[in-house]
Each structure stands twice: as structure tokens, then as C-alpha cells.
Subunit: 249 residues, 2 copies
């Protein structure tokens, strides 16, 4: 069993709140537990913070995230400023992957070679924090993202740090009168072509904390779990979610 | 200029209405104009009409669509029952591509070889009707779909029958209190990495009718058009939308 330490967060920010306000207490606790002093940030999902320049967008994203982690006493390096991204991963104290567009994130992680490097590094015990797209890429693939395929990644395969799929920002309803698929319908379509996978619909304001061979749901709302051929289940924070780690892939 | 005849429909069905009820009058007119007696249906996007069997799902989808087109006096063949899909495309009187999951549709269209065959056939004058995913695949790529990437297509490239991107089921707002990206934010992310493309946000209850070198917006609501570095524009049915055909690709 690899020595995993993961904080997989549905969403950075609840509507109307400060940036990363709701998960702050969980992130702080996680950081303190492992004595983390500096983090390596992966901003590749943040393509549109500076409209017109992706490179500048990564700069702004890093600034924003540095502000937050700086407030917790951490120093932040961003992978987009490293000449050798794989080498940077290898010496990272902790890895933080931010949200945004999952397709662009996965494309860049494959192109730079850090998909494999981050996987090896985290499996060997380095703490990992990801929110939204950053939680999604901890899964076997990106096949349960909600994002638009604005970029074409070489593969959909991801870090595979957990054996199940997360659907971040899990949402119960469509806006009134809208005929498009609900999130639940989309996940059932996923299961129709991926029978052996479990999907954790992670509502906003919730996260999964994985520590070695234990996993906990934390936050203010239940999680909705989907398996092929079974009724979806509502799981409360505090309930046993260990079954997620034995799901087949 | 190729002799194109396309009906590109945002959504099959408005909430609470009968299947394909709202576009019925437009489809009927289109069919009559070209004297179409039989259609070749592409059901590949419909993965979950029969939970547990994709093949059966295609059967049910074909039944459903046959019911509709039968009511208009058409006979329907489905490509999933053809031993040689490319040959079936070559002899089709009209091609109809239904909605569902765009990723699975595009994967199947590339794998069966019909992506290229449909393109050639439609460019040579065969009428084409598509709704939702079927409207999206008429575009240069599938990069403006709303669907979940449940299947991994070999390429994101599509039919390229029009030089712009359609976002079907275009939606203005998120449900209250949801922090995920709005549709507009997603399209702006698309433009951040695809500067030269125009996106037509096609609201439910609207369609684009392309006939040779003319194109019209039809239906009950305006369309929202996005270009990199420009304010989004609202275009009313009846307005000149010819600029869409000169957009760069």
C-alpha cells in the first residue's frame, strides 16, 4: 500500500466567499500535520486569469495562490517558471494542483512529463493537495470532469492516485426550464461505457482526505456515489467511505 | 463554395415538450425542400437509453427517431445496423446525427471511418440534420461541447462543415449559489487558447439553417456570439449572420 497523503477538494471557493475560504481550516491542518514549509504549485488549469496570455494567466494564478499559502506561512514555487518541471517535482516538499480547465491541465501535464513524475513522487509519500481540476487529475482519468474540451490532451489518463473517479462541483439540478442533461445523467452515461468504475459526486464545500489506507469525507454536505447498475447512494461526512479504496479499476 | 444544406439544431426537445416537437416545423420544411424520402441515422451519441447495453441503446434511439421521422413520411436506416458504415454513408439520401454524448459520438465516427465519409458526402450536396451533439460535430472540432468526456476519441477534430464552433444548449446562468464556471466563462476559456475561432452560443429552441452560402438563425431566442478580445454579441433571429461563414479557422 503506497503511503498516500491527499487532500482532494471539490471547489476552491463557495459563491460569495473569499478565495479558498471554506477549505482553509482543512488545508492548514494538513500542512501542519506534515510540517510542509514550501509547495510546488501547478497552475496549468488556469488559462484565462489574464485574457490574451496564458503565460501571464499562470503568473496571476500563482500570485493568487501564493497569497493564500503565504498567509499560512508557506513559500510557493510554480512549475511554469521552472526550466526543468520534472526535476522540480522530484524535489518538491508538497504538490498543489489548482482548478480551472481540466483538459488544458491534463494536456500540459502529459506534455511536460510531470504526470508520471507527480504520480511517482506522491506515491512515495509526498503530500498532495488538489481542488476542482486538481482533484479530478488524482483519479485514473479525467473522464468525469465538467469542463469544456478547449485543449486536446494526448491521453485522458491521469495520476491514478485513487482507484475511483471524482466529479467535482457535483450539482443536483439544472436551472429551471433547461433541457440539457443533468449531472446525474452525465455520470450515468459515464457508467454506461465504464461499468467497473465508482464515481464520487463531490458537492461544493466538501473534500476527501486520504491518509495511507484511510479515507474521510469532510465538509458540510453529503457526497453522492454512483456505481453501474446500482441506485446512487448519499454518504454523510463521518460515514465510512473506505469502500472507495477497494473499487475496481 | 460547396453546396451545403445543413440544419444545425441546439436541442431536440424543450423541457416539458414532446420529442423533437419544437424543431418539427423546420425539419419538415427542410425535408420537403429537398424531397428527402429516407434518411441515414447516426445514433452513436445515445449511449444510455438502455442502461447496460450500448448496442441496445442504439436500437432504442433508432426506434425513437424512426417514430418521429416516420410521422413525416420518411423511412429511417441506422448506421449501427450497417455492416459497412462508410458504404451506407455513400448511398445515403440525407444524414441525421442525433444528440447525446459528443465524446462517444466522435470516437465512433473516427473509429468507423464515417467522419471523413460524411464530410465528403455532405460537401457534395447531401442534406444534413444534427441536433445537440449532432450540431456540434458539424463544426471544425468538438471543443465547445458541454458533455462529459466519458469516452476518449482518437481526435477532437470533426466534420468541419462550417468554419465556426457551435455551443449547443447555450445557457446564461448557473443554478443559484453554484460556484462552478458559467457557460460564458467556459467559452472565454476556449477562446483564450483558440484565438481565431468564433463561437455561436445557440440557446435551446434555436437552430442555424445553412443553404449554399447563406445562413439563417431560426427559432424563438437570440444567439450569443463570442470572439476573442471582443464583447459577446446578441444576434436576433432574422438578423444577418453571414459573418459566421467568413470567420477564420
Amino acid at each position: 500500500m503506497p503511503d498516500l497523503h491527499l487532500l482532494l477538494i471539490s471547489n476552491s471557493t463557495n459563491a460569495g466567499e473569499e478565495y479558498l475560504a471554506w477549505p482553509r481550516v482543512y488545508i492548514q491542518e494538513f500542512i501542519q500535520e506534515y510540517g510542509i514549509a514550501e509547495i510546488l504549485f501547478v497552475p496549468y488549469a488556469g488559462v484565462n486569469l489574464a485574457p490574451g496570455s496564458i503565460e501571464k494567466s499562470f503568473d496571476l494564478y500563482t500570485e493568487k495562490v501564493s497569497g493564500f499559502f503565504g498567509g499560512l506561512g508557506m513559500s510557493v514555487n510554480s512549475i511554469h517558471l521552472e526550466a526543468d518541471p520534472v526535476a522540480a517535482v522530484k524535489k518538491a516538499g508538497a504538490i498543489v494542483v489548482g482548478g480551472g480547465n481540466t483538459f488544458h491541465l491534463v494536456k500540459m501535464m502529459h506534455e511536460t512529463g510531470i504526470m508520471e513524475a507527480v504520480r511517482e513522487k506522491v506515491i512515495s509519500g509526498t503530500p498532495y493537495i488538489g481542488w476542482s481540476a486538481g482533484a479530478n487529475v488524482a483519479c485514473p482519468s479525467m473522464k468525469t470532469t465538467n469542463d469544456m474540451p478547449i485543449s486536446e490532451p494526448r491521453y485522458f489518463s491521469c495520476l491514478g492516485l485513487v482507484p475511483f473517479q471524482i466529479n467535482p462541483h457535483y450539482l443536483d439540478a439544472n436551472p429551471a426550464g433547461h433541457g440539457g442533461e443533468t449531472r446525474e445523467q452525465r455520470i450515468l452515461e459515464f457508467l454506461a461505457v465504464n461499468h467497473d468504475m465508482t464515481v464520487a459526486g463531490l458537492r461544493e464545500g466538501t473534500l476527501l482526505h486520504l491518509k495511507g489506507d484511510t479515507i474521510q469525507l469532510k465538509g458540510s454536505r453529503p457526497m453522492r456515489v454512483f456505481r453501474f447498475g446500482e441506485e446512487p447512494k448519499e454518504i454523510m461526512p463521518g460515514d465510512d467511505v473506505g469502500f472507495l479504496l477497494s473499487s475496481g479499476i
